[in-house]
């Protein structure tokens, strides 16, 4: 049996729970961006997003002593992230705020053509498109395609069956595709086919 070159997530979690800061930091290195991406499917304000991300990891820090060595770290982590996100969204008493320093997202919303050949512009358009996907499909897509979770892990994080998560991911991906700029041509053809009764 080959010796793993890198410690597993669970090994790092146990080490962190025993007080090893480096182990905790390694977990942040591995999953910080992915957790952020999952949070970003519901939060587009960058300041709030950064705050939530840090709060999630502070919660992980506090909850690590409860993590069982024989458990799975990834769904546990993303479950904490989703729960915290839902709590935060519930605490918001106002509607969606658009921060003007998040100008690229604003620009995408109003359809302004900005010089958009850089990653930030693309991210804003993706975020704006993903925001149009309804829950819980958006959350499912975020966990699988942004968080990198397997279906079983995503199902555990969302508290549903694997079959349900597969269905949600499929519908979420289709909704994202439909909402993506440039998908209208395909839509038009589909509508034409349906309206004309053309055989698929």
């Amino acid at each position: 049996m080959p010796v793993p070159s890198e410690p597993t997530d669970e090994t790092l979690a146990v080490a962190a729970a025993a007080g090893e800061r480096q182990a905790f930091e390694q977990l942040v290195v591995r999953y910080g961006s992915r957790v952020r991406a999952v949070l970003a499917q519901a939060v587009r304000d960058q300041h709030l997003l950064d705050d939530l991300l840090q709060e999630v990891w502070v919660k992980v820090f506090g909850a690590l002593p409860r993590f069982r060595p024989d458990g799975r770290f990834r769904p546990w982590l993303f479950s904490i992230a989703l729960n915290h996100l839902r709590d935060a969204l519930r605490r918001q008493r106002r509607g969606r705020l658009v921060y003007i320093d998040d100008y690229r997202t604003v620009a995408a919303d109003v359809g302004v053509e900005l010089p958009d050949h850089d990653a930030a512009e693309r991210q804003a358009r993706v975020a704006a498109t993903l925001a149009r996907v309804e829950q819980p499909f958006r959350e499912a897509v975020a966990l699988v395609d942004l968080g990198g979770l397997a279906y079983a892990e995503a199902a555990a994080a969302m508290g549903c069956s694997v079959g349900t998560i597969k269905s949600r991911v499929s519908r979420g991906r289709e909704a994202f595709r439909s909402a993506w700029p440039g998908a209208g041509e395909t839509h038009d053809e589909e509508r034409t086919q349906r309206s004309t009764g053309a055989a698929p």
């Binding site: 962190a16 007080g19 090893e20 800061r21 905790f24 930091e25 942040v28 910080g32 961006s33 991406a37 300041h47 950064d50 840090q54 502070v58 919660k59 820090f61 506090g62 909850a63 690590l64 002593p65 409860r66 993590f67 069982r68 458990g71 799975r72 904490i80 729960n83 839902r86 008493r93 106002r94 705020l97 658009v98 921060y99 003007i100 320093d101 100008y103 690229r104 620009a107 109003v110 302004v112 053509e113 900005l114 990653a119 991210q123 993706v126 975020a127 993903l130 897509v141 395609d145 942004l146 555990a156 991906r173 994202f176 595709r177 993506w180 998908a183 395909t186 053809e189 589909e190 698929p200």
Partner: protein, 483 residues
């Protein structure tokens, strides 16, 4: 295979979970159905874009920010932290959290037993067999928090299989800890009998009923989740940023950027559009002028007996001849008028650019309108920008102004409801006085809402003044939403 069935396979193809038969069937269908092929291509492209937005592992700035927050939380748990390294602070804090969790679980387990006993006591009292206990029991004070929180615990609970089992109920006092975590999770120790029991609070009632029915001790997940919630709430509170003594944010804050770079392209396009238009007008004028000059030259070579230039005073005493045509007259007039304008295309463009730049640099807000869309560029601190922005928009975008005022009203309510934040806001006003909000924003339907409905207020009589007094105090701590 139908298109509908094919669509269900497309998602699985992204996950590389199709078997050989499915892959073959999908390929065959896509080769013959252009619609599904387009959908497949769109799905592939959109998913690639979606997945590409995830930053690579090890985003240094992100990691640094997260670890900073965690280190702050850890340090807050340690009493004597001077001279300790980050690693040592983390270790001690983590061990302290673990120890506190053990003690809190023991307390929770004990308190759940107490719930069952109290439930039994309540039943017995109801039946007339027991005297109601007096207040002052710290354990039961804690019970109130526990009972109230248990009903919410499931929402915060990580999966059950991740929970470590609680230790045995020992009944001993929580051990003293250098991490000073004894109070973690114990938010309402001491005090009176829980009102939950006295008044029949629904949540405590549920706990009591379930405890009485289930044997007293809540499930492992509930116990651990309760500890998790209380511990993490404490950690979250302790992790609040405290740099520069800024007041804690209990109300949402908004941010305005001073970065106008993203709208530079739109500004440039607008600039160029106007410059082009002016340039084209100059070109037309120049061509008209050239034509007029040629016409004048031709006419000067012949006796001007029949030409009359409008506006000119003829030095000839002879009768004024009739003008050639109205077009000729217009050409001559246009040529003379255009002499007063920028003579060249470059000058026209430069003039247009200068006007726009002066406007953008001098005004705190520049509004670019592109059909139904509104682009805003803003410069300066919110205290100066917001009033200008609202003043600028109140005529053309009353809906946006209403939204902004509603947001400000909400912020004001939140801040005034938080005594600490309100005091911090009032004390922290320094520097230049912010530009006041324009009075005309506060028409009959705005600003004069009576915040104390039963009595007349100064605000109702002078809404603008009231708002401005509040605005002067609060604006340094606020930024403003975009629309």
């Amino acid at each position: 295979m139908s298109c509908h069935k094919i669509r269900t396979l497309l998602s699985r193809r992204l996950d590389e979970t199709l078997d050989d038969d499915e892959s073959a069937a999908l390929a065959t269908h896509l080769a013959t159905c252009s619609t599904c092929a387009d959908v497949a291509r769109d799905l592939q492209t959109s998913m690639q874009l979606l997945r590409s937005t995830v930053a690579g592992a090890g985003d240094a700035a992100l990691v640094q920010a997260v670890m900073g927050a965690v280190d702050t939380a850890a340090a807050a748990l340690i009493d004597e932290r001077d001279g300790l390294s980050e690693d040592e602070l983390f270790r001690r804090a983590m061990l302290g959290v673990a120890a506190a969790r053990g003690s809190s679980i023991r307390r929770l387990a004990a308190s759940h037993v107490a719930v069952a006993l109290l439930s039994a006591a309540a039943v017995l009292m109801f039946l007339g067999h027991w005297d109601w206990p007096g207040p002052g029991d710290g354990e039961t004070g804690e019970l109130q928090h526990t009972a109230g929180s248990l009903s919410q615990s499931d929402e915060a609970a990580p999966p059950h299989d991740q929970m470590a089992p609680p230790p045995m109920i020992s009944g001993e006092a929580p051990p003293a800890s250098a991490a000073n975590t004894e109070d973690v999770g114990d938010e309402s120790a001491g005090g009176e009998l829980p009102s939950a029991v006295n008044t029949g609070d629904a949540r405590a009632g549920e706990v009591s009923a379930s405890s009485a029915a289930g044997g007293g001790v809540a499930s492992t997940a509930e116990l651990s989740a309760q500890g998790d919630r209380s511990d993490n709430d404490s950690l979250a509170v302790m992790a609040q940023p405290t740099q520069n003594d800024t007041p804690p944010r209990s109300a949402p804050l908004f941010v305005i950027t001073v970065d106008t770079a993203p709208f530079a392209a739109a500004l440039d396009r607008l600039e160029l559009n106007i410059a082009d238009w002016l340039g084209e007008a100059a070109d037309r004028a120049a061509s008209h002028h050239a034509a007029a000059q040629q016409l004048a030259a031709l006419e000067s070579a012949a006796p001007p007996a029949n030409v009359t230039v409008p506006g000119e005073v003829s030095e000839v005493s002879e009768p004024r001849p009739a003008p050639l045509t109205s077009m000729d007259s217009e050409l001559v007039a246009a040529g003379r008028a255009l002499e007063r304008l920028a003579a060249t295309r470059t000058a026209a463009q430069a003039a247009a650019r200068d006007v726009l730049q002066r406007k953008a640099l001098s005004a705190p807000v520049t509004v670019l309108r592109d059909g139904p869309r509104l682009l805003l560029t803003m410069r300066g601190p919110p205290a100066l920008v917001v009033p200008s922005l609202l003043d600028l928009l109140v005529e053309d975008e009353p809906r946006i102004v209403d939204m902004a005022l509603a947001e400000l009203e909400g912020i004001r309510t939140d801040i005034e409801a938080d005594p600490a934040l309100h005091a911090a806001v009032l004390e922290a006003l320094e520097g230049d006085t912010p530009r006041p909000l324009p009075a005309r924003l506060f028409g009959k339907d705005r600003g004069g809402r009576d915040r104390h409905r039963d009595q007349p207020t100064a605000e109702a009589e002078d809404p603008a003044g009231s708002w401005n007094r509040w605005w002067a105090a609060a604006s340094p701590h606020l930024a403003v939403t975009a629309f």
